[in-house]
C-alpha cells in the first residue's frame, strides 16, 4: 500500500467534508426538513474538517497519493479560509431556507460537496486533480445559483453561469492538454522541473498556447476583466446567500490554484529557461488583466443602483487587487487578502440577504434609506463591512491592501500599486454612498422591522470580530503566514 502513497491524513479535511455531506443527504432522505439538525451537523463537519486541516500545519511540504495532492502551509491556510467561508454561508442561508421553503439537507450537502472541490483545488498538485476539483466546484455552484426554481431570474442566472462556466472549462482543458504535450506530464512538480530547463521550439509553442488557454480558464473562474461578463448578472440573479458564497470561497480556491500554477510552477528563475520565456508573457497578460479589473470594476460599480450588482463589480475590482499579489508571487499576502475579503464580503451579504427578504424583493440601494438609526443592528455592521471593503485604516481591509501593495512595491510593480491606490480612492465613493443613503436619506415608506435569527447574529459576531481582530492585531496571523511561506520556499529548493 505504501507505494500508492495512500495517506488518509493528507486528505483529512476532504474526507470529513465528504462524509458529512453524505450524512446530511441521507438524513434528509429519511427524515426531511430538519433544518437545525442538518445545519448543526454541517457546521460541525466543517469545524472538524478545520481541525483536520490544522493537524497538517506542522507537516512540511510532502505529497501523497502518487503526488496527486500536496500538504503544505499554503494549502492548510487556504483550506481554512474556504471552510470559514462555507461556515459563514451556512449561517447566512439560515433565514433564506425557511422563507423559500427549501429542503435544507440537499442545500447543505451541495455546499459541503462544493467545499470538498475547493479544498481539493487548493491541495491539488496535478492538473488532473485541479480540473476535477474545479468541475466539482462549478457543478455544485451551477445548481446553487438556480436554487430558487420558481424564480425566472435565478434560473436564467444559472443558465448563464453554466454556459460560460462550461465554455471556460473547455479552454482550461485544452490548455491542460497542450501543457501535457509540452512537458509530458500533468504533475505540477514534474512540470516545474521540466520548465526550469530549456525546451525545444515546438515545446515552447505548446507551452505558451497551453498557458494562455489556462489563463483564460482561470480568468473566468476568478472573475477578472475581460472574462468577467457573467459575473454581474449571475451575482444579481442567484439567491443572495448563494451570491455570498460564490463571491468568496470558490474565488479564494480559484486564486490559490492560479498561484499554484502560475507563480509556483512557472516562476521566473532569472536563467535561460522555458519558465522565464513564459513568465515574461504571463506577467504582461496578468498585469493587463489586473489593471482592467481594477479600473473597470470600480468605475462601473459607481453607476449601479442594485446593491448585489454593485458588490459584483466590487468583487471584480478586488480580483484585480489580488492579481497584483499573484504577480508579486507573495502567496501569504494573497491568502491574507482572501481571508479578509471572505469575512467582510460575507458580512455584507449576510445583511443584504436578510434585508432582501423572500424572493430578493429589496435589493436597490435606494431601499436602504432610513435604515441607519431605525435598524442599528443592520446598519452599523453593514457600514463597518463597507468601510472595510473600501480599505479604511483600523479595519482588516486596510491591513490586507497595505500588505498586498507593499509586497507588490517590493517585487517591482510600482505602477500597479499606484493604480491600485487610486482605484481604492474611487471605490470609497460607492461604498460610502450606501452608508450615506442608510443614515442620511429619509425612507419613502415605513421601515419594517426585520427579525434577527441566531444564526445571523453568529455570522455577525464572527465577521465583526474578524474585521477588527485582523484590522487591529494582525501581527500574529502575519507571523504564522510568513513562517509557512518560508517553509514552503525552503521545501521548493
Amino acid at each position: 500500500m505504501e507505494s500508492l502513497g495512500i495517506n488518509y491524513r493528507a486528505i483529512g479535511p476532504e474526507l470529513v467534508l465528504t462524509v458529512t455531506g453524505v450524512l446530511v443527504m441521507l438524513l434528509e432522505a429519511f427524515s426531511p426538513g430538519k433544518k437545525v439538525r442538518d445545519g448543526i451537523l454541517a457546521a460541525a463537519g466543517i469545524v472538524l474538517a478545520g481541525v483536520a486541516a490544522l493537524a497538517l500545519w506542522e507537516e512540511g511540504p510532502v505529497t501523497a497519493f502518487s503526488r496527486m495532492v500536496i500538504v503544505d502551509g499554503f494549502r492548510v491556510f487556504f483550506t481554512l479560509v474556504i471552510l470559514l467561508g462555507t461556515l459563514l454561508t451556512i449561517f447566512v442561508s439560515w433565514g433564506f431556507l425557511d422563507e423559500e421553503r427549501i429542503p435544507p439537507g440537499e442545500y447543505f450537502a451541495l455546499l459541503l460537496f462544493g467545499a470538498v472541490g475547493m479544498t481539493l483545488l487548493v491541495a491539488g498538485n496535478d492538473l488532473m486533480i485541479l480540473f476535477l476539483a474545479l468541475e466539482t466546484i462549478t457543478i455544485a455552484t451551477y445548481v446553487l445559483a438556480g436554487y430558487r426554481r420558481e424564480d425566472l431570474r435565478s434560473t436564467e442566472s444559472a443558465l448563464k453561469y453554466f454556459l460560460l462556466g462550461a465554455f471556460s472549462s473547455a479552454f482550461l482543458l485544452y490548455g491542460i492538454a497542450l501543457l501535457y504535450g509540452a512537458t509530458r506530464t500533468t504533475n505540477l512538480a514534474e512540470m516545474a522541473r521540466v520548465v526550469s530547463g530549456p525546451l525545444g521550439q515546438a515545446e515552447i509553442v505548446l507551452l505558451m498556447a497551453g498557458a494562455a488557454m489556462l489563463l483564460i480558464g482561470f480568468g473566468f473562474k476568478v472573475t477578472t476583466v475581460p472574462f468577467h461578463v457573467w459575473t454581474p448578472d449571475v451575482y444579481e440573479g442567484a439567491p443572495t446567500p448563494v451570491t455570498a458564497f460564490l463571491s468568496t470561497a470558490p474565488k479564494a480556491a480559484g486564486f490559490a490554484a492560479f498561484l499554484r500554477v502560475f507563480s509556483l510552477t512557472f516562476p521566473p528563475l532569472g536563467i535561460e529557461s522555458a519558465a522565464d520565456q513564459l513568465a515574461s508573457h504571463w506577467v504582461a497578460a496578468v498585469t493587463a488583466m489586473s489593471i482592467l479589473s481594477m479600473t473597470f470594476g470600480n468605475f462601473i460599480a459607481i453607476a449601479q443602483t442594485n446593491i448585489k450588482r454593485m458588490l459584483a463589480y466590487s468583487s471584480i475590482a478586488h480580483a484585480g487587487y489580488v492579481l497584483i499579489g499573484v504577480l508579486a508571487r507573495d502567496w501569504a499576502a494573497v491568502a491574507f487578502y482572501m481571508l479578509v475579503y471572505t469575512i467582510m464580503n460575507l458580512g455584507c451579504f449576510a445583511i443584504v440577504a436578510l434585508w432582501a427578504r423572500r424572493g430578493d424583493e429589496r435589493v436597490l440601494i435606494a431601499e436602504y434609506a432610513g435604515l441607519g438609526f431605525r435598524q442599528p443592528l443592520l446598519s452599523f455592521p453593514l457600514a463597518i463591512f463597507l468601510v472595510s471593503l473600501a480599505g479604511f485604516p483600523g479595519t482588516a481591509g486596510f491591513v490586507a491592501k497595505f500588505w498586498l501593495f507593499k509586497s507588490a512595491w517590493g517585487a517591482g510593480f510600482p505602477e500597479l500599486v499606484i493604480i491600485g491606490v487610486l482605484m481604492t480612492v474611487v471605490s470609497v465613493y460607492y461604498y460610502l454612498y450606501v452608508v450615506i443613503v442608510m443614515f442620511f436619506r429619509e425612507p419613502k415608506e415605513e421601515v419594517p422591522r426585520v427579525p434577527l435569527s441566531r444564526a445571523f447574529v453568529a455570522a455577525m459576531v464572527v465577521a465583526l470580530v474578524g474585521v477588527f481582530y485582523l484590522g487591529l492585531l494582525p501581527t500574529r496571523v502575519f507571523a504564522v503566514l510568513n513562517t509557512a511561506q518560508n517553509l514552503l520556499a525552503i521545501g521548493q529548493r
Partner: protein, 102 residues
C-alpha cells in the same frame, strides 16, 4: 509503412475546437451552445490522446477518461437547468432572456 505526423491530429483538434467555440459565439439556442461546448471538449480530448500516443505514456488518456465523466455530469446538470428554463418560458433562445441579458 506510412506514418501520420502528430501535427495532422493536432490540426484536426484545433479545427474542431474553433468550430465548437464559434458555435458557442453565434448560436442562440442554449442547447446548441452546449453542443458546441461538447465539441470543444472533444477537441481537447483528441489533443490529449495524440500526445499520449506520441509519448507512449498514459496520462493523456486517463485525462480523457476523466473528461468524459465530467462531460456526463455537466450534461446532466446543464440539461436540468435547460428543462427548468423551458418550463418557465417555452423557449431556449438566449436572446429572449428577459431579466438578465445573456
Amino acid at each position: 509503412m506510412t506514418t501520420i505526423p502528430i501535427s495532422w491530429y493536432l490540426a484536426v483538434a484545433a479545427v474542431l475546437f474553433t468550430i465548437g467555440a464559434v458555435t458557442v459565439f453565434v448560436k442562440r439556442n442554449a442547447l446548441v451552445m452546449l453542443l458546441g461546448i461538447e465539441l470543444m471538449l472533444n477537441a481537447a480530448n483528441l489533443t490529449a490522446v495524440t500526445f499520449s500516443s506520441y509519448f507512449r505514456e498514459l496520462a493523456g488518456q486517463i485525462l480523457v477518461f476523466f473528461v468524459m465523466v465530467v462531460a456526463a455530469a455537466e450534461a446532466a446538470v446543464g440539461l436540468a437547468i435547460i428543462v427548468l428554463l423551458f418550463r418557465h418560458r417555452e423557449t431556449l433562445n438566449v436572446d429572449e432572456a428577459q431579466l438578465l441579458k445573456l
